[in-house]
Symmetry: C2
Subunit: 358 residues, 2 copies
């Protein structure tokens, strides 16, 4: 039986994912050509429904205008009907919708179905992170992998060279199918057996991007910025491993690790707003700057820093994570932006990172 | 007996090193206050000798103008006299002078002397790399560590926050003394037992910077640049480990690894010239662009890529290093700059990097 794929989500990244997948299902005989895409129905200014326009033009005119998705992509406004018959589900909705979507699908999918989550920005709660892959896998009773990486959707849509990492827990065969399904000559995918490590990267990098933005705003130069990014990377590794001892150092050399961190610290909205915050010497709040600069998009790094700080504080780990803690303290106005380059007092804590965890 | 330090070299980085060291020798009781600095004597336009001006003003007016080195730094134009009585030698001359300097010092230094090399840009010969630390240690019969990192000399001179890595082979106590001697609240130094790994980083990063410059010149975006930097980092690790099985993955998470790579790929002359090369679509040679853009400074990445390619080709490793090989092929005009993002054909080679070496 051929594998049948449904993409659950149709925003900017979801549409690019559908395009990548659709180019492969027509090429590979082990996959059914048709790729269903669940679309949250919207009325366009023209009066037409978004699904109708996608199915007529093969273009998501609202979230990925100008890019052909492939004739074999079929938009469906009903999530239950969209997943019917599919044995491979790609989840790519904003994370606040994931719980509702999963609940709707309970009992509607086959038990041998494989899932993969492209959702970034899981929550980090006191009792540990709320992994999206775990939410999916527990609610639906299916195996769930993740795909993360240095993936600016619009650059991949234009077929610029890029990479991504599949993180899986046990099912290596499933991981290999996902690699086949997503990979193209310009989008290189590799798989590592470390679902938690891969998923943590996608969230924690945003804290480091805030730190990098402060350095930019204070015009401290590339040397300092690189040092801050490196310290951030080491805290990402250490924090992930303290929460999940199975997390591997090597995962952070993959696209989801160092490459995504670099992309996010060079461009990205977290860096941008933090840069403005430092330039204004903290006199204008993150909320104000977010509203002004991001055109409705949301800032994740500040919230993640707060969530991570609660975990650190709850477990007595604050001293061991000077960068994460300092980003939080700056973002709530307790320290000035310049504190980000005054980790000198925390030298012993930093050295511990260097010697003990790696 | 107090430790006595001599800095062998007085260029831009050598002067900054003397400043860092001099601030610590006056502070720490285990070190003699005086820091001797060997200066290759020059006549300044004013007619004065460089050493005289340094000793009068405490400033290296030629190579680090505007920065006070400390009153306890004493410039000496005679290398033999400069090292007399010192038991800690800091080598920081351009690498082409190192052999001559070492030969001059044979028999002139105590046998318990410890050396450290700050010299970047060792040569990679067919029979393996010509490590500067090995050259020093063999010629002089002393133990030699290295110090590398994301270190733009002028930024450290201005006391901007930065980090560095000491790589040592056996003598941990000596490494701890070097950490004490160089470290300040704005210059955080840590030590790892991996002299080869640390020293290889400083050379191989320049090949990756050339690749990053090509991506910039073609305006491929941050996503692609991050991917290329990551692939480059993995080839750096793999190549180092194939030459020296003792090299550790963790070294590449230190300042000498990922941080120096980021700095070099963001700024730096290798990136700059490669950017111009790609913008001119390879129609103007590296030699021409170097002469125009670098104001007499030399480009290391192209030469290193050639040397590394000879090793790869000699040992049958070319296929396993698609990025290193492609940088060489582009820089000699055998491939167009766009080839840097066409590593798709080498996917299997890349995946092997991902799975086998980490």
């Amino acid at each position: 039986m051929k594998n049948k794929v449904t993409v659950v989500g149709s925003g900017n990244w979801g549409s690019v994912a559908a395009k990548l997948i659709a180019s492969n299902t027509v090429r590979l005989s082990s996959f059914d050509d048709e790729v269903r895409m669940w679309v949250f129905e919207e009325k366009l200014p023209s009066g037409e429904k978004l699904t109708d326009v996608i199915n007529r033009t093969n273009e998501n005119v609202k979230y990925l205008p100008g890019i052909k998705l492939g004739k074999n992509v079929v938009a469906d406004p009903d999530v239950e009907s969209a997943v019917k018959g599919a044995n491979m589900l790609v989840f790519v909705s904003p994370h606040q919708f994931m719980e509702g979507i999963c609940k709707k699908l309970v009992g509607k999918i086959g038990k041998d179905t494989e899932g993969i989550s492209l959702v970034k920005g899981m929550e980090v709660k006191k009792e540990g992170p709320c992994m999206i892959s775990t939410l999916i896998s527990k609610t639906l009773g299916i195996n769930c992998s993740v795909l993360m990486g240095a993936n600016i959707a619009n650059e991949i849509a234009l077929e610029k060279f890029s990479e991504a990492t599949v993180g899986y827990s046990k099912n290596k065969e499933a991981a290999e199918k996902w690699v086949q399904l997503f990979g193209t000559p310009y989008f290189i995918v590799s798989a590592v057996q470390d679902v938690e490590g891969v998923e943590m990267c996608g969230t924690l990098k945003n804290i480091v991007a805030i730190a990098a933005g402060f350095v930019d705003g204070m015009e401290m130069g590339n040397n300092t910025k690189a040092a801050i990014m490196r310290i951030g990377l080491k805290e990402m590794i250490k924090f992930s491993k303290m929460l999940f001892p199975s997390v591997k150092d090597s995962t952070f050399f993959e696209s989801c690790g160092v490459a995504d961190l670099i992309t996010t610290c060079l461009g990205g909205r977290n860096r941008k707003v933090a840069d403005a915050y430092a330039k204004n010497q903290g006199k204008r709040s993150f909320d104000q700057l977010e509203a002004e600069l991001l055109n409705g998009q949301k800032l994740q790094g500040v919230l993640t820093a707060k969530e991570v700080y609660e975990v650190l504080s709850d477990r007595g780990w604050v001293e061991q994570f000077p960068l994460f803690s300092t980003v939080h303290a700056i973002s709530i106005g307790r320290l000035p932006p310049s504190a980000i380059v005054e980790l000198g007092d925390s030298r012993s804590a930093n050295k511990q990172v260097g010697n003990s965890t790696l």
